[in-house]
Amino acid sequence: MPHLTLIQAVNDALHLAMKHDDRVVVLGEDVGENGGVFRATEGLHDTFGEDRVVDTPLAEGAILGAAIGMAAYGIRPIPEIQFTGFMPMVFDHMVSHASRLRWRTRGRFTCPLVLRAPYGSGIHAPEHHSESHEAYYMHTPGLKVVVPSNPYDAKGLLISAIKDPNPVLFFEPKRIYRAIRQEVPEEIYEIPLGKAAVVNEGTDVTVITFGSMTHMAKEAITRASEQGISAELIDLRTVWPLDIDTISTSVAKTGRCVIVQEAPRAASFSSEILTLIHEKVFDSLQAPVERVAGFDTPMPYYRMENYYLPNANRILAGINNVLNF
């Protein structure tokens, strides 16, 4: 079985999906001959030609807007937005149209598209290249949000996302595009949307996260175990609609919870998870749920991004806070 990086796994999934379903089309800026600025679409142009791997003019709104028309017509577009910082340009089309086309037309038109975007920070990128925008899309009814944390999941989740009949935002944590390699089967396989992974079982505290923060959290719980703390680590994989059962079961067991995200804290992913825990397993809680998050500031320039980003120490401090409450 080949050892692949996350970006190679994404590329592999795209190749397979395009081979298996000739309705699948990739479009975006520099995704064709250039193979994408991160090389996610490398080789697709040569294999499938310029009709199915399209270099578009520079206009994010039109990339998504056209993809909506394509999806409604009957093909399966996979638009790429080059960086999450450019996603506000697609916001109107995502919120006013993609998310609610099925709803507005009582199912007569649907919008089975997968918007791929390199996500998050940690690679010393320029401004507007490191944002974490999941909260905007979680709050918008009708969208699914997926963020893989490893190559195996990236491939299986992307295949599932492409087969899904609803619009999916597939955010790729660019910090770990090439950070890890993993055995990834060559064949096509799916990881179901809406199912979390329990990365580590534990009894004292539940740590909930997704994407590249999963690796920070792994480091933190390894160090916590050295202090004798048994932490359960949940990688959500699908950020919305999320796997509430896995969360509730775990927190009911541990009674304590730390939520980790890179996005700003206010009205975010962590607010919703915390509130759901509060609603579902209030009586089990033995301490306030702790949020370890980015700050409510713009993403700092790269020289200070490590102050902003949660790291293993901040997560460990969060674990200790909930245990020492």
Binding site: V25, D51, R52, V54, T56, P57, A59, G61, A62, G65, A66, A67, I68, G69, M70, A71, A72, Y73, G74, I75, P77, D92, H93, S96, H97, R100, L101, R102, W103, R104, T105, R106, G107, R108, F109, T110, P141, G142, K144, P165, N166, G194, P241, I244
Partner: protein, 375 residues
Amino acid sequence: MATKSKANKPVTVKDVFKNKFTPYTLLNPDGTLNGPAPDLSPEQLQAMHRVMVEARVFDERAVNLQRQGRLGTFAPLSGQEAAQVGSAFALRKTDWLFPSYREHAACALHGQPWLDILKYWGGNEDGSRVPDDVNIFPVAIPIATQIIHAVGAAWAAKIQGKDDATLVFFGDGGTSEGDFHEGLNFAGVFKTATVFLCQNNFYAISLPRESQTSSESIAQKAISYGIEGIQVDGNDVLAMYQMTKEAFDRGRAGEGPTLIEAQTYRYGPHTTADDPTRYRDSAEVDQWKERDPIERLKNYMISQSIWDDGKEEALWEDVRAQMAKVVEDYEALPERPVEEIFKYTFEEMPWHLEEQLAELKDFIAEYGNPNEGHH
């Protein structure tokens, strides 16, 4: 260097536009022809005429319903029938139509039942569920966004090797939005079979056309995208048909999109929530009424001896009965169950929506229906 070079004079946009756009007209206001008649049978002309009359009567009924509190806010179209019917008449059945929110005539012609159009404005989502063999996108309220969707659908057709074309409507105001630029640019680059139909009715709510853009015409904007552009008398249903048909023919032949500026006028307000007397004179409205699109086609058909006053009278009577039935059916629609709110958000209902639906049902069981007496 023996040869003397010519004076190096810059060529400016003004040089390019030495010949101004003028609206192409086939049918004069009195119904006489101004050029070769399009290849349309008497039955086809009568069909165009009928839909225009249907739209006019529908408009009256809808505005009245709104005034009586029996319909929501409504966007009337009276005055713009020819721009819509002439262009939509050039659509084939499998072609896709992308309306903004005033294209009731175009939508009806392309297969959306009048009852569905009324349902939509009556606050019933079922109105946007067009029949399975009808390709009309739902009304686009966010201005100009539909322009790009139309490009995407035509592009998808091209990718699939089909020759379906798309027709997208927007107004003079819509040309100011970024989506107008992005859509026309994409269509030019990918040579999609899209007809961009700007109904320039000279006002975007209150803002007059000359304050909307300092371009002398909307049509000339096409040049910056490398696509065809034309200005048409939007109250001339024959010119509208002919120009749109030619644009589709070019599009299907791979020659790319066309921007059509149809000059027309809305007799009524922007919507029933608007008071147009605040920003335009009744004299202006009267001038446009002298160029009424329905009268013009009627006069032409009479001059061709395929129509007469008796038929005209019978038609209006028939259409009034038809619309009375539409209104009757609309008012007889049953209340829809609350599930309708939650269905179709996703293909399958996720747990959080199941929970919210159950919560609402419990609430209604305990406290009664919050919607009673509210519609």
